[in-house]
Symmetry: C2
Amino acid sequence: MTEQPAQTTTAGDPATARGEQTRQLIRDTAMRLFRERGYAQTTMRAIAQEAGVAVGNAYYYFGSKDHLIQEFYAQSQVEHRAAAQPVLDREEAFGPRLAGVLHAGIDVLTPSHGFAATFFKTAAEPTSPLSPFSAESSGPRQAAIDLFGEVLTGSTAKVDAELRPQLPELLWLAYMGVILYWVHDRSPGQTKTRQLIDGAVPLIDRLVVLSRLRVLRPVTRQVLDLIRTLRH
Amino acid sequence: MTEQPAQTTTAGDPATARGEQTRQLIRDTAMRLFRERGYAQTTMRAIAQEAGVAVGNAYYYFGSKDHLIQEFYAQSQVEHRAAAQPVLDREEAFGPRLAGVLHAGIDVLTPSHGFAATFFKTAAEPTSPLSPFSAESSGPRQAAIDLFGEVLTGSTAKVDAELRPQLPELLWLAYMGVILYWVHDRSPGQTKTRQLIDGAVPLIDRLVVLSRLRVLRPVTRQVLDLIRTLRH
DNA sequence: GTCGGTAGTTGAACACGTTCAAGAAGGGCG
DNA sequence: CGCCCTTCTTGAACGTGTTCAACTACCGAC
């Protein structure tokens, strides 16, 4: 309905633009304040003041307060990738690889649990460019899906040929589910989310293995057909 | 309807309080404007003006603009229950009962797809009393879970004894998943959501039946243990 | 050097959700 | 009726995210 005007995101533009320093300053200040005070308690005026710029200047670089969240996403995704590297180097079996990558994701997010939880609502809004399903966040999303592709590629697991191309996205979807649980997880240290990962991974592992069985072939195909249909 | 018997003891019954009329007026006006203009485009000032009251008066009855959404939830739940009745009367098999109740839920929500989608973000915030998992919405939630209990109770399906007590809540969770998909569903008439229901129900049906197999007993138990652990 | 255009920066102004001190309306009781 | 207490109602005022017309800094062209 209400189409946003084309945002000058400077996709492949030179990062040497004059304002790049200011952009990073504002972003870093915002991230710090989000962590210190939480998302709702951090006002745009406070961000601007702490960064030593005018309020409007922040809006020159970031379309809205919500857009600062997307910056957080991108940053988290990069950290997740880095944190997952040792696991991908070390493990060979599918299960441990998946578990390791999932745990790495939660590891990265844990310091931000307090404020991440409060802003994940914005991510759930379908019309928002912040939705993990939106076109605007297709960059970080694809990177995340690729990460789960690596979980698969490097593993010794044998996967049904038809399932294989769909699996990375399905694993990413499972990861989204883990995050949804984590966001609501009030157990100390979010230990329950850890239990969810450790409990769900063997089940997923078994499911992937079972999908190759001839007896279950019709079901596998049925599921895959449904998924293909539902894809946007 | 407007006539009421002599009210002698108004001990703890706020339903007969003086302002009940005003409360309903504000609620109905808000619902109408939400449908007409969408959630974000409907201001509290507009609601108050259309209802012919002061802004602060709306806040006397509803703690915030978001709280008006909860009113929408409760109303939708009641309509869902009513719309599901014919299905529960007619169908006996588990699959058709489940499919019918799921379709009934979407039927009820369909007229509000435009604005429901934009406010579902608020429901996703864990700290908000509007979260479907929160204590504040335990009333409508329990009613919804009970509805899926009826899907099971009235059916001819034989369910694993250990799974049975967990199943209503699991089905409700699946329903939440359907709604999450529906919210993001941009296909005309949300036909894809209908396909999701029709595709997923047979799978759930088969899964429930399979859970009784001796071979799968360990897996069933493993899943149930995990679920019990993760429960809040 | 200075001119002109782009990139960057400013802060007052706007609309919104929300709060709150003050008042009005009702009803029980003498 | 007059009094008091609770329930309800008011609208100005506050802090917020966001916008925008005006302004400044920079840089290449001549």
